[in-house]
């Protein structure tokens, strides 16, 4: 009986192709909009997440000055960190994977007749760990090189390309300002960050070499810290803060003159923002689904009036209320499901096109496809019920007299 009714419904729909298409247009647009918005939003969220995790999700950054962004955010008089601060953190805080004190400066690098202005970063091997850098060739620094501050360096892939082209840089000597520096390794490329910066444009040298030969001071501007995955970031942050306040002799009640950035926090904020935006856009799109449902109800009501005589015939022949109800309900549901399927296809196509245009990854979300389909079917049930009930309750005698 149900199968018969579905066949009947699709025949009824085919008879009025133009009207049926106009009826489901609302559902099609609604579903397509929801699918497009949610898929694109999901892509954007995924992109933000991957970009931030390429910085290392378990990364903490400690800067001197205060954390506020924008003008006046940092206090000029805040003292720089020293290597000892980093060593103290590594020694006294548990749950850490690596600590990398860090200082950098923009310097002209020269090899043969090629030269390139880049950021020279002084740090330890911990830098590779905390920032997720992998070597493409060569090696990291030896303990002796770190201890003595030997003039050796590892090149970011941009610098390597600018200075060496396709040649192998390992073993060559490049000039950083006045000093000659031997290349011992080269990093794999990470590409552009989401903030548009070229992450590969730097040269890493041992921190001590940087301090002695380039900066001429023992200042450390930033300390990178990576936590173990299992540890609680909050308590680690708290411990580091307490330790640094102690070391920097900040009395109670006075504000920190340094700031801890937590990449997880930043990632959560950013992905949270895109998620909220996605939900908002999805909700707006869902409203059009509702409008589509009202369109279906409208047409079904017209259809019931138009087919009053048919309903009368069916009732006279022996259809019970339930069967007439089911017939019109199924017709509405078939219509809305059909609209839903077209909407899903259209939405996915639009999302794929949009993802390409906006350069975000296309993240297929089977959940939202299912939800959209179920929702469109539900729209058919909800908005088809009233007209169907109206049809089922018709008096067969009146219905047969209609027109």
């Amino acid at each position: 009986m149900v199968w018969e009714t579905i066949l009947l419904a699709q025949r009824e729909i085919r008879r009025n192709v133009l009207r049926s298409s106009l009826t489901i247009l609302g559902i099609v647009i609604g579903v397509a909009a929801v699918i497009t918005m949610v898929t694109l939003g999901g892509g954007a969220t995924a992109q933000v997440a991957t970009e931030i995790s390429s910085l290392g999700t378990n990364l903490l950054q400690v800067h001197t000055g205060q954390g506020g962004r924008g003008p006046g955010g940092t206090r000029a008089q805040a003292d720089m960190f020293k290597v000892e601060d980093a060593e103290a953190i590594a020694r006294e805080i548990s749950g850490l994977e690596a600590v990398a004190p860090n200082a950098s400066q923009r310097i002209q690098t020269i090899y043969g007749n090629a030269n390139w202005s880049t950021s020279v970063v002084g740090s330890t091997n911990g830098f590779l760990l905390v920032r997720d850098w992998l070597l493409e060739s060569g090696r990291q620094f030896t303990d002796a090189e770190l201890r003595t501050g030997k003039a050796v360096c590892i090149l970011g892939s941009t610098v390597r390309k600018e200075l060496f082209g396709d040649r192998d840089p390992i073993g060559a000597s490049i000039r950083l300002q006045k000093i000659s520096c031997q290349v011992v390794g080269a990093f794999q490329s990470k590409g552009q960050s989401s903030f548009g910066a070229d992450q590969d444009d730097f040269v890493l040298i041992p921190l001590r070499a940087f301090q002695r030969r380039i900066a001429g001071s023992t200042d450390v501007s930033t300390i990178f810290i990576s936590t173990k995955e299992s540890g609680s970031v909050e308590s680690i942050k708290h411990n580091i803060e307490r330790l640094l306040r102690e070391r920097r002799r900040i009395v109670n009640g006075e504000e920190d003159d340094f700031h801890l950035h937590d990449m997880r926090e930043i990632m959560n904020t950013l992905t949270g923002t895109t998620r909220v935006l996605t939900a908002l856009l999805g909700a707006v799109a869902a409203v059009s689904l509702l409008v589509g449902g009202i369109g279906i109800m409208n047409i079904m009501l017209v259809s019931v009036t138009e087919r009053t005589r048919e309903i009368g015939i069916r009732l006279a022949i022996g259809a019970v209320e339930k069967e007439v109800l089911l017939q019109f309900l199924i017709e509405a549901v078939v219509l809305s499901c059909f609209g839903g399927i077209i909407g899903i296809v259209l939405g996915l196509v639009a999302a794929a096109a949009g993802a390409q245009a906006l350069k975000v990854p296309f993240v297929f979300n089977p959940g939202i496809v299912v939800v959209a389909f179920v929702f469109s079917a539900a729209v058919g049930v909800v908005f088809g019920y009233f007209p169907a009930r109206k049809a089922a309750r018709l008096d067969p005698i009146e219905a047969l007299r209609h027109e």
Binding site: R309, R314, I317, G318, E321, L400
Partner: protein, 242 residues
Amino acid sequence: MKPTVGEKSENGPLIELRAVTKVYGMGRAAMRALRGIDLTIAQGEFVAVMGPSGSGKSTCMNILGCLDTPTSGDYLFQGIAVGKLNRNQRAMLRRHYLGFVFQGYNLLNRTSALENIELPLIYRGTPVDKRRAMALEALYAVGLRGWEAHTPGELSGGQQQRVAIARAIVTNPRVLLADEPTGNLDSARSREIMELLTAFNRDRGITIVMVTHEPGMASYAKRQVYFKDGLIGNRSSREDTL
């Protein structure tokens, strides 16, 4: 699905109306369409119901067809008190025992002749193969071989009424209720339809109750019943008029 209502008596008359009244509306505006009629129709009869407009014959037909219930009195169909049945139970009686033929044919538009004839079988839950075979048999029985795929719009009035008759008899009903079946047809077409009905009454033993205005059509029936002002006037058998 067989109706599970009432007690069926095997020996009683097929149709029995006892002091049936039907009142539409309430109070002063009340319209008494039937004022207490008694009518008994036995299995296999062919009865013509005649009378002027507003005499209550349509109301009576609606009650006989289980589309309506009496205000008072009893309607026993195969011994089942129809007045006590609910809407769905009455639909079940129609589905299993009754066939309808209307003046205006009342076929489903844009639906082929064969599919129109299949319609009551769908509600009976007849399997699709058997359904098709039964519908074809009924279509042939009304002389429309070759017109299976035509929609009502492509058929003449006489042909549409034949399809309607085929739809009514495809379930092999106990009773065929025909409401002015020849009202829209010319006399030649009318005679063909009447001959068809007579044949089904004679060959298949289907009881027929037919409303008509035309004495010529009524003469095909074995018995005539006259309605006047909501009452049955006088009965006469065909033998009396001859």
